[in-house]
Structure formats: structure tokens, C-alpha cells
């Protein structure tokens, strides 16, 4: 008897997909979630580090918006993250889990700086920049292409493959640095004086404008071109794609090529507009953060403008908190984690609801 009951009983809670929620309500829920997260963080900060909750929140904001210099940095950092997020998105739309953004950006950066390092002032700066750009795009594309071909030909696991390629890229940079600094062994390149992008008002504006233009282009590519449509179809169902005559292998390869190329472009921008140098930490995990940006925006390039800004806002607010309250950087990371947790959590509740078990007096009926 008992055994029978166990079989027929529903779980106490189960998750059901919600039928469409109005946009306004969804937005309100998101807003409330962020508010609740801030509230919880304020309470935590009061308890853990004895911070005044109001000062805590104002610090979070002043990290990104506290001065015109910070606003520019905020915009620039968001643009760099956005650029890498745009890069990984086409592959994601196709359900090709490219975790190799980090490495693809890094080889792009390496190709750029290598051109500047070897060509120096032997050619005009404009030509050098062009060569750096082409080299970066090709390097990034190649870094993505390799796992893509293996996936298309032999069905290898692209997540593992691209992840491993990150390590190869990191050690390639370490190797190049050792070669270039053999004489003193420092493995530190310092600023290379050649191949700097021109300033447009300041160091950042040109980069920001390029990324904004790219955002629009990627949006159009994904939503209004035949290739973009093919990506969506392959992402929905490979079998359907094959049935309607799409060459799936070709679409995978082509799309990852595009992803890698944009990663390369990001690497070029980092080197030519900002760092003029390279270290193994040049990308600093942005390739992985970009995955979150892309997911949070549900792979929509226009929404990514907002999600990348949100992530950078939180990071810079967190760093400022560590500075102002002089606490270890672990605490701001907790704060950022809590806020992201609430945001991701509220997305879940916007799309799903949890229903508790309807009690059944007689075993088996409810099934």
C-alpha cells in the first residue's frame, strides 16, 4: 500500500512555465529584485563591516559615476565588455557553447602587439594599425575556427575544446613575453610606443563609438540577414536545419569564424587604444564575464548594452567599496554576487512559477 502511494504522489513543489507576463509587470519585478538585493546588501554591510547603509549605496554609485573621469571609464569598460559579449553571441545563438572568448581576444591582442613590436616605425602608423587590425581579426578567427571545424567534422565537444584553447593562448602570450624580454628575463613588456590609435576627444571615445556601431551591425546580422536566420534555425534544431537544406557544418564554421573575428577585434582595441602592451592577464576574465552578459540579455545585442553596463557598474562600485571602507576585495565580490543572484533569480520567476502539490485524497487520481 505504502509503495503504491509513493508512486502516485506528486512532488511537494513543481515548476511550471508561466503563460506570458505583461512587460510592465516583468519590469516591475526586475526593479523590485534589484531593490531587494540592495536592501539585503545594505543590511549585510552594516552587520559585517559596520558601514552606514546610505553611504554603502552611494559608494556603489560613485564607483562608476562619481566623477567625469569615472563616467568615461565606466563607458569605456562597458564598451570593451560589450564588444566581447557581442563576439560570443552569434555562436551562442546557434547553441555552440564557445567558452573560448577569453583566448580568442588574447590571441587577437597578441597578434596586434606582435605587429607593433616587430614593425615599429618602419611603416606609417596608419598602415601599421591596419596590419594590426587584420592580424588580430585573423588570429581571433583562427582560434575559434579550429574547435569549430573539429565540431563540424567529428562532433567534438566545443565547450571543452574552446576552454582548452584559452590555456594555449595564455601560454602563447607567456612564451612571447619570455622571448621578447630574454635579455632581462622580466617577462614584462612595458608600453610599446608604436601602433597607438588616434585620440578622438580622449583615449576612450573612438573605442566606444566603434563598439556601438558594432552593436548595431551584429543586431542587424542576427535578425535581418539570411545568415542570421540560419544561425537561429541551427540553434533551434539541427535536424530541422538539415531538413530544410541548410549545410549545418558550414553554418557552424562560418558563425564561429565571425565570433572569433570579433573577439580578435576586441583584442586589437584593447592593445591599440588602451594598453599598448600585453600580459597574460590582459583580458582579465572578460571573456567569461561576456558569457554572463550575453545570457542575461538573452542573446539580444541591444539589451547587452544594458547588461554589460550593469556588470561593470557593479564591479566598479565594488572596487570603490573596497577602497572607501578599506575592506578586503572579498566583500565587494559578495555584494556583486548577491545582486547578480537576485537578478538571475527574478528572471527565473518571471518565466516560471512554483506550484505546490494539490493534495489528493485518493492515491493515483491526480496523475
Amino acid at each position: 500500500m505504502q509503495k503504491h502511494e509513493k508512486h502516485t504522489r506528486d512532488p511537494r513543489f513543481h515548476v511550471v512555465k508561466r503563460a506570458g507576463m505583461s512587460r510592465g509587470k516583468a519590469l516591475l519585478i526586475r526593479f523590485l529584485a534589484i531593490l531587494a538585493a540592495l536592501l539585503l546588501c545594505s543590511v549585510l554591510s552594516t552587520l559585517l563591516i559596520g558601514a552606514n547603509p546610505l553611504k554603502f549605496i552611494s559608494t556603489l554609485f560613485s564607483g562608476s559615476l562619481g566623477s567625469s573621469r569615472r563616467i568615461w571609464k565606466f563607458a569605456k569598460d562597458s564598451a570593451v565588455l560589450l564588444c566581447i559579449s557581442l563576439a560570443v553571441t552569434p555562436a551562442f545563438r546557434m547553441r555552440f557553447w564557445n567558452l573560448g572568448g577569453e583566448g580568442q581576444v588574447l590571441v587577437g591582442a597578441l597578434a596586434s602587439i606582435a605587429c607593433a613590436y616587430y614593425l615599429r616605425d618602419s611603416i606609417p602608423n596608419a598602415l601599421l594599425l591596419l596590419i594590426m587590425l587584420v592580424a588580430a581579426v585573423l588570429a581571433g578567427a583562427f582560434w575559434g575556427l579550429f574547435p569549430a571545424i573539429c565540431k563540424a567534422k567529428w562532433g567534438t565537444n566545443e565547450s571543452l575544446f574552446t576552454l582548452m584553447m584559452n590555456y594555449v593562448a595564455t601560454y602563447l602570450v607567456a612564451f612571447a613575453l619570455m622571448e621578447w624580454t630574454k635579455a632581462d628575463g622580466s617577462s614584462t613588456l612595458g608600453e610599446v610606443a608604436f601602433g597607438h590609435l588616434p585620440r578622438l576627444y580622449n583615449e576612450y571615445l573612438l573605442l566606444i563609438l566603434v563598439v556601438l556601431a558594432l552593436t548595431v551591425l551584429v543586431y542587424i546580422y542576427l535578425n535581418y540577414t539570411k545568415q542570421g536566420y540560419e544561425i537561429s534555425v541551427v540553434g533551434e534544431s539541427e535536424k530541422t536545419a538539415r531538413y530544410i537544406g541548410i549545410n549545418v557544418g558550414r553554418v557552424i564554421t562560418r558563425t564561429v569564424l565571425v565570433s572569433g573575428a570579433i573577439c580578435g577585434l576586441a583584442g586589437f582595441l584593447i592593445v591599440a587604444a588602451l594598453d599598448h602592451s600585453i600580459t597574460t592577464a590582459t583580458v582579465g576574465g572578460l571573456g567569461f564575464t561576456a558569457i554572463m552578459v550575453s545570457w542575461l540579455a538573452k542573446f539580444n545585442p541591444l539589451i547587452m548594452v544594458g547588461t554589460s553596463a550593469l556588470i561593470i557598474f557593479l564591479q566598479q562600485g565594488g572596487a570603490e567599496m573596497s577602497t572607501i571602507f578599506n575592506v578586503s576585495s572579498a566583500f565587494p565580490n559578495i555584494v556583486v554576487g548577491i545582486i547578480l543572484f537576485f537578478i538571475i533569480g527574478c528572471e527565473f520567476f518571471i518565466h516560471y512559477q512554483i506550484k505546490s502539490r494539490v493534495s489528493h485524497k485518493k492515491g493515483g487520481v491526480g496523475k
Binding site: R69, A183, S277, A281, A319, T323, S328, S329
Partner: protein, 423 residues
Amino acid sequence: MFKKLLSLALVLIMVLALGAGLASCKKDPDAEATLTESPLPAVELQKDFDIPSDFKVGFILLHDELSTYDLNFINAVNNVKTVLGLTDEQVIFKKNIPESNDCYEAAADLVDAGCKVIFADSFGHESYMIKAAKEFTNVQFCHATGTMAHTENLANFHNAFAPIYEGRYLAGVAAGLKLNEMIAEGKITADKAKMGYVGAFTYAEVISGYTSFYLGAKSVCPTVTMDVQFTGSWYDEIKEKNAANALMDNGCVLISQHADSMGAPSACEERNVPNVSYNGSTADACPNTFIVSSKIDWSPYFLYMIKSVCQGTAIVDDWCGEAHEGSVVLTGINEKAAAEGTLAKLKEVAGKLQNGEIHVFDTATFTVGGQTLTSYLADVNTDAAYTPDTEVIADGYFHESEFRSAPYFDIRIDGITLLNAEY
């Protein structure tokens, strides 16, 4: 229902057990190091100048307190902060700043916050600090371990370092005494007195460090040899641990390191092999094997830097403190692991180094390819081609950190084997 009660009871028991376990977590007295006084102690600092109330100082750090390298700077800042009575608002930290344009941005942000002097702690920060120095000419920029201040000729950009090779030498003497003890006890024969060293890169700072350590050991144990294993990283716990284990497998009976993690010391503690540490005491984690540790104490420089700015006097291009003035300090000696009489010997050698009776890189104490060095051109002035430019051997010794503060001793001497010099 019974199951639920049972699981609840089990959970309670586990929680209570955990609490009891934590409460009884007292340290075992046998597992604690017993440290003597320091043979080269920190110097007590004095405040002998006025600080304007609007004075602010900024510090840019590569990592945060989780890295022993950065922690060493943070401790020095907090020390000086207390001595000078500076408030939290007057001392601003920017932590986890990579060696990229971010460093320039952090410096500019500190200028906006009103800092009169800004310090950065990592070698790769240098070009970005110079970029900031050129833009903000009324703010002073100071940089540890850098090499370019004396040739850049900027009035507001300065390098600093300390004669840590003297501290390493003293630590090496302690290692040599330990080897002698092992020989006397019959644990090893004199020709088996081989030390192991875990280094980061084949960079002058590392080469100068391990060579002075080796020469210190050799000064008391003439048959000593040393293997050096590089990791190609300043901080990589697993690599450092593996390197230390490989060295021990290879017959090294004592280990030291120039890398920032606990990798090498903890490997030594696991295998009960004596260890000479760096950049901070590892005595708590390694009570049975820790001998002594040397480090740069940045407090004297921070005090000097702040005093100069407050008094409006110029900061020197290239500051290199004196060991006996507190720039280089040693921890106490762990009596559990060190040889008897180490403290007295180290004090004696420290005195001789101070009065110039002995020199760390005395050319009579080492050979290169079997030959005694009489002349060496070092690359003191940084240029893209790394051209050697300065004669650094005179009066029978290599003049380290005199022509610029950052080390430039990069000679591979006899007796030291580099196992993987490609780094």
C-alpha cells in the same frame, strides 16, 4: 515522521560536534615554532614633521592582502599610517590593479581624490605610472622595483628598492649553518650539501636574490651547491609546490624560494625538509621546518616619501634604503629548525655587512666558468636593446643596487645549476 525526527536529531548532533570541535581547536604547543629575537629587526619610526590636514596618499597594488607580496606593502602602509597618525580618508588603496592602462586610470582617479603622492607596487605598473606622471606634474609618483626613473628625468617620477640581497645573504648564512649541522650529525656528507631554490623568472631581481642566498650559505659551508627551478610565474602555488618537491626528489636537503605563495614552504613541512622563507614569516604554517625569513620593509621609504612631500623637498630618483636603517628585516630564528648558534652568527655577519668589512658579492668568493670576475658591464640604464652600459665591479666586489636601486646582478656563477633556464 520517524525518519524526519531522526534526520533532525542527526543534524543537531553534527552541528554540536562541529561547535565542540571548533571550541577545542587550541594550538598544540608542540606544533608551534619558537622564535628568537630578530638578528636584523625592524627600526622604530619617528614622526618629526607636520602633515597638512588635506594631505592624501594613494597606493596602487597589483593584488590584495591574499598575496604575500602585496600584503608586505599593506602592512608597511598601515605601520606608517599609525606612526604618522593618518586617518582612513588620508590613505587610499586601489587594490587588484593589473599591469595595464588600468594602472594609469587608477593613478588619475587618485589624483582626482586629492592625493599628493601615489605609489605603485608592481614592476609592470611602471610605464603607466610614467604616463600619469607626465600628465599630472604637480603630483609625485613613486614606484617599487622599477628601473626607469634615473633615465626618464621626470621631476615627479621615482623608483625605490632596498638592498634585500643583504637579507638574503644573512638568510643564506642560516641555511649554511643548518647544512653544517646536518653534516656534523652524519645525516649527509659534505659533498651532498645541496640546496634547492624555487624562482619565478630568470630576472635580475631573482638571480641577485638566489646568488646572495647561495653565497651566504657558502660563506660558512664551502662545499655547498644549489639547484634552481623556475616556475615562470610570480604566484602559482601548485607549480611552486611541484618545483620544491622535484628539487627534494633530486637530493636537495634544504629549500628556499623567491615566489609569493605557500607552495614551497608547505611542501617542505610535509616532508620535514628545512626551509628558508621570503617576504614574510611562514613559521605558523610550517613550525617544524621554518628557519628564518627575510623581507623588504617598505615603512622607511613610505615615511621618507610622505615626509618629502609634506616638507616640499625633492624625492630622490632612485631610493635604496640601508639594511640597518630598517629597509631590510629578518624574522626571528626558529630554534626548532635552525642550527645552534645561528642568531649569534647572523648578528655578527649583519654587523660586518653594515660596517663594510664584508661584501655580499665579493669577487673572491665566487667564480664564473672557473674564472674570477674582474670586470662586468651591467644593463643599468634601460633601453630597448638591453645594452650593457655600466662597469659595476670595483674594489673587489660587485656593486649591487648602487647605480640604480633595482637589482642588476644577473651573472650565473659556478656552484649553482639552473634546471630550467628558459624562463
